[in-house]
């Protein structure tokens, strides 16, 4: 489930509010809030669309997990999905590397 909107990185662009399919966030005058965490479907798509790597979705789908943001930011986890699928400008060469065709039919 979504656990973190990092106030330090977030620029209040509200993209996450818009793209979350299950309407988990609410807009505010400042940074969005996680208003309905229980509705999160752990799809990681808000993370993909956040231009600032300010969001973190924990992989636990059924339970909230306490997160130590300082420790988390020392890892490369925030934004790791965007980088892996080539969603950022610096990683866009990864957009065409899908090798699924070699794995089908196993």
């Amino acid at each position: 489930m979504i656990e973190v909107v990092d106030g330090e990185r977030c620029t209040s662009c509200d993209i996450c509010v818009n793209v979350c399919p299950t309407n988990v966030f609410d807009k505010t005058d400042g940074i969005p809030v996680i208003a309905r965490q229980g509705d999160c479907q752990t799809c990681f798509l808000c993370e993909l669309y956040c231009p600032e790597d300010a969001l973190y979705v924990s992989p636990f789908a059924d339970q909230a997990q306490p997160i130590d943001l300082v420790a988390l930011k020392q890892t490369d986890r925030m934004g790791s999905y965007r980088r892996a699928v080539g969603w950022t400008d610096e990683t866009s060469e990864r957009r065409g590397v899908d090798r699924s065709y070699l794995l089908f039919g196993h």
């Binding site: 399919p21 479907q41 993909l48 992989p59 999905y81 065409g96 699924s100 065709y101 089908f104």
Partner: protein, 542 residues
């Protein structure tokens, strides 16, 4: 050519609501809905597309990505592709439909390439088109839908259909949940592309898929088919949502004590996993993947690895607990019955596409996940959009038509009792999640579940209209309840095992039941058998 000046018109509406006039309304903005919207707009129709979430991220494809039933137009390859899953599907497929879907998927995939989808290129320089990355594909489809002149309403779940005096479908209404107001679209034809129903099981990307389109369509009298083929369960880490199962083909499955679960496999051995899970935890390790396969896995499906990388598990060397999450009609094959080549339903003005429609014609009773569903979504989407646009042209001017709302549950004033969506959802889940009820089916257990579900339906029929704050959840709960009842009623009617439908009391396939089960109704659910195309030809020849 799309004509961008041909747009749906915003018309005046009472305070607290917005209204549009269109030729075609598409409900749902996954692959089926976006292909439908583009297909209708390219026929010159003015189109509105309403999505519960955000068109581009919402639905099963956007989050999961899909393998695609893309086969080069070489007759031998096409023949092999069609023959390949006929047995698993219980011989319920229809060759003519398989051929049309293969043709259309080929054409649509080529269009995606022209539109700039970054298909990978293999060592021999050939573009490989049998896999689509979800976010990338659906971002492109949103862009093309907008460019076609379609008006997109995001965060705008449809709640009920509108009908004219003759019972023809003429639009829908719903809420804009981020604007706290209502929307109405008057249209000459409607495409239901709301996906399947996965009962809020948190299988990847599917919590927006609660069968809403089924309920709305049933309220105007539409029929369903193959609803007994609605019990696929997908493997995921026990704690997680990533139900992508391809890579479990390289897994070994073990009990708590480390011994191997006999017969367990992702393909052809999933029921052994379900039986073992009834006894206790089951663990997986992808230890059959060599280094090269591991590298391909990583780059091909990065989201598969998120649950592992974020918990410090190495899935190739560590054992991790797994579970099976119900996917209902998302990777099942039941849905609204299609009555002709334009994907019309049995109700005038109503079309269905993607997982909202039955996929029996190309999948039979076996899962459409893995390739067929994606091919079906793009093919049926485009056909339904074109069919709806052509129908709208025939309707001509819709001025002066008197429309009424078709919604039932959660809309009717009943002073006695409040509608309690969360409790109803839990009650439905308790009947559809358990492996002993839904994975392994048997008459008395099915009847028990149906008795409780029917009682819940009668009970909720006496509940009051839901309020603005929970009308969406109330309609979702009602839709899941109705879906569960069509599913189990059809499962009782099929007294054999075929495709994914397994009956403990009828373990074998019965050649006399090579037919489709049709179902429908709300207060009273009915079923009937329809012959398979081959069977009717055979009879005609006799």
């Amino acid at each position: 050519m799309p004509n961008p000046t041909h747009r749906a018109e915003r018309v005046s509406a009472p305070e607290g609501s917005v209204a549009f006039e269109a030729d075609v309304l598409v409900i749902g903005g996954g692959p089926a809905g976006t292909w439908a919207a583009v297909g209708a707009a390219e026929r010159g129709a003015r189109v509105v597309l309403a999505d519960k979430g955000f068109c581009g991220t919402s639905g099963a494809t956007a989050a999961a990505g899909t393998g695609v039933w893309y086969v080069d137009p070489d007759p031998a390859l096409r023949e092999a592709a069609m023959a390949n899953r006929e047995k698993m599907g219980g011989y319920l497929q229809d060759r003519r439909w398989m051929a049309r879907v293969l043709d259309s998927t080929y054409q649509h995939s080529n269009r995606l390439a022209d539109w700039g989808y970054p298909y990978p290129v293999d060592d021999r320089g050939r573009s490989q088109r049998n896999s689509l990355q979800g976010p990338e594909y659906m971002r492109l489809m949103r862009k093309r839908t907008k460019q076609a002149g379609v008006t997109i309403l995001d965060h705008s779940p449809a709640l009920e259909l509108l009908v004219d005096d003759d019972g023809a479908v003429a639009g829908a209404s719903g809420v804009r949940r981020q604007k706290q107001d209502r929307w109405t679209v008057r249209a000459k034809a409607v495409v239901i592309a709301t996906g399947g129903c996965a009962f809020l099981s948190k299988t990847l990307g599917s919590n927006v898929l609660t069968g809403d389109g089924y309920l709305m369509a049933a309220e105007v009298g539409a029929e369903f088919s193959s609803m007994e083929f609605s019990n696929p369960y997908a493997i995921s880490p026990a704690f997680g949502s990533v139900t992508k199962t391809l890579f479990y083909g390289w897994a070994s499955f073990t009990y708590d004590d480390g011994s191997v679960v006999p017969g367990a496999a992702s393909k052809g051995g999933r029921s052994a996993i379900a039986r073992a899970l009834l006894e206790g935890p089951v663990y997986a390790r992808l230890d059959k993947a060599d280094d090269e396969v591991r590298r391909h896995m990583r780059v091909s499906q990065p989201n598969f690895f998120l649950p592992f990388d974020r918990t410090g598990i190495d899935p190739f060397s560590d054992r991790f607990p797994v579970t099976l999450r119900l996917e209902g009609t998302v990777r099942g094959t039941g849905g609204l019955r299609i009555v002709d080549d334009s994907c019309a339903t049995s109700v005038p003005g109503l079309y269905a596409a993607g997982d909202a429609a039955a996929r029996e014609l190309i999948c039979g009773g076996f899962t459409g996940g893995g390739s067929h569903n994606a091919a079906w979504a793009m093919s049926s989407g485009a056909w339904a959009g074109q069919g709806a646009a052509d129908y709208a042209t025939q309707v001509g001017s819709a001025a002066g038509r008197k429309l009424s709302s078709a919604g039932t549950l959660a809309f009717r004033s009943r002073p006695r009792r409040a509608f309690a969506p969360a409790a109803l959802t839990r009650a439905v889940q308790a009947e559809v999640f358990p492996y002993e009820l839904n994975y392994f089916r048997e008459a008395s257990r099915l009847q028990g579940a149906l008795g409780r579900l029917d009682a819940a339906w009668r009970d909720v029929s006496e509940a009051d209209a839901a309020g603005a704050s929970d009308i969406v959840q109330a309609r979702e709960a009602a839709a899941m309840l109705a879906t569960a009842r069509w599913m189990y009623r059809s499962a009782l009617a099929r007294q054999e095992s075929r495709g994914m439908h397994r009956r403990d009391d009828f373990p074998d396939q019965d050649s006399r039941q090579r037919h489709y089960v049709t179902t429908g109704g709300l207060d009273e659910i009915w079923t009937s058998a329809r012959p398979h195309a081959d069977a009717s030809y055979a009879e005609a020849a006799e």
